[in-house]
Amino acid sequence: MPEPTNDLIEKIKQLIITRLKLVDMTPEMIETDASLFGGGLGLDSIDALELVLGLEKEFGVVIPDAEVGKKVFQSVRTMAQYVLEQTQAV
């Protein structure tokens, strides 16, 4: 599994804040390994679709289905790892 840089982690956090309009949050407030759905940030499936589009728009990577989505949206780190995998695979 490739290890994402701090810069990429920061960009993913910023993407979450911007796409979901979490106006009271800063990247430092989001833990890199905390779960995004349910507990942790408490996101839901509507948020997931926002993040799918966000990843596509910002990084050009596609989440093809729910199965991949579940793995990718576990945490900021798994999102960053997926971006890295997909962009390096080209």
Binding site: K21, D44, S45, I46, D47, A48, L49, E50, V52, I63, P64, D65, A66, E67, G69
Partner: protein
């Protein structure tokens, strides 16, 4: 001078989950919480605080209790907003949010709204035991795919219950059909497909059979002219006083067109949407439908931002 757009108060349907009102929850200190839960206790045996602390998903009548909780919390947040100076230009509602919207507009009283919520909730509960149904939220597939799923599972009486925005739909129908629709949606690359907490085929034509019983529930209630207009999501025009009973008797058997409701509000000049409820489901859907929309949920704010109309008067 700050330009002022219109303000829409949006009343959400059934809560997704029970609100946990533990001792330190800020809502418990709010005078409106005390006032409206006490007033409710005079006419219903339902106790919001008790349910919020002890209610279990498996218990009898869980959905009915969620529906009454939704109504009470919407009314509490409505009065919190009004006390903070927020005045709506128009009200919108999603699904069973209509009961609180009607009470907020004073077309019915708080007690009448509670009575309607509880009575229709009991009908739905009975329906769920006679003909078990369900709802599935399907996210990430376009309308054509959703229609195809309904078509491909022809025989399970599936229909679209909520048009919540592009790629945001809710399907309704027989329980087995709903489960199959979820599997099919996931195999066709939905981002998410899952059951919602309902055991009836809400907003499907099968519930139009309850129309007469609902009219009977409403027969002694006098509908007054709404103080704030309520947008009818079928016609996207304000709901007229004489239409209210018909609307209520059909509402649970017809789809919710939330997407066209939001689009109409934007056309009408609404720039600020406030979800008058505990969760932020409508808030997220509004932003999904219109990315630039200003939206927040009352339930997420201990203190509200100042009302734009007050800023206008201060600056002029």
């Amino acid at each position: 001078m700050i330009s002022k757009g219109k303000i829409a108060f949006c009343f959400s349907g059934q809560l997704r989950e029970r609100l946990m009102l533990e001792d330190l929850h800020p809502l418990r200190k709010d005078p409106h919480f005390k006032k409206w839960t006490e007033r409710a206790s005079l006419v219903t045996q339902f106790d919001l605080l008790n349910f919020s602390l002890k209610g279990e998903e498996a218990e009898t009548g869980f959905n009915l209790k969620l529906q009454i909780s939704t109504y009470l919390l919407s009314m509490i947040h409505f009065h919190r907003l009004r006390t903070a100076g927020w005045v709506p230009d128009i009200l919108a509602e999603h699904s069973m949010g209509i009961y609180a919207a009607l009470a907020a507009s004073e077309a019915i009283t708080f007690e009448e709204g509670l009575f309607i919520t509880e009575s229709i909730g009991r009908l739905l509960e009975r329906e769920g035991t006679l003909r078990r149904g369900g709802l599935a939220g399907i996210i990430g597939l376009p309308l054509g795919e959703i229609e195809k799923i309904c078509h491909d599972l022809n025989g399970h009486h599936l229909s679209i219950a909520n048009y919540n925005g592009s790629m945001q739909f809710v399907l309704s129908g027989e329980e087995e059909g709903v489960e199959k629709a979820i599997s099919l949606a996931l195999s066709r690359k939905a981002i998410s497909a899952s059951r919602l907490s309902f055991d009836t085929a809400l907003h499907s034509p099968s519930l139009l059979s309850l129309r007469e019983e609902i009219q009977d529930i409403l027969k002694d209630i006098e509908i007054r002219p709404p103080k704030f207009p309520i947008l009818n999501h079928w016609t996207v025009t304000p709901l007229r006083r004489e239409e209210v009973k018909d609307f209520l008797s059909q509402e649970i058997g017809r789809p919710v067109y939330w997407d066209r409701c939001v689009e109409r509000l934007i056309q009408e000049g609404v720039t600020q949407f406030i979800e008058v409820g505990q969760e932020a489901t409508l808030t997220k859907l509004i932003r999904w439908i219109h990315r630039e929309a200003e939206a927040f949920s009352a339930g997420e704010h201990l203190h509200f931002p100042p009302c734009p109309s007050e800023l206008v008067s201060e600056s002029t």
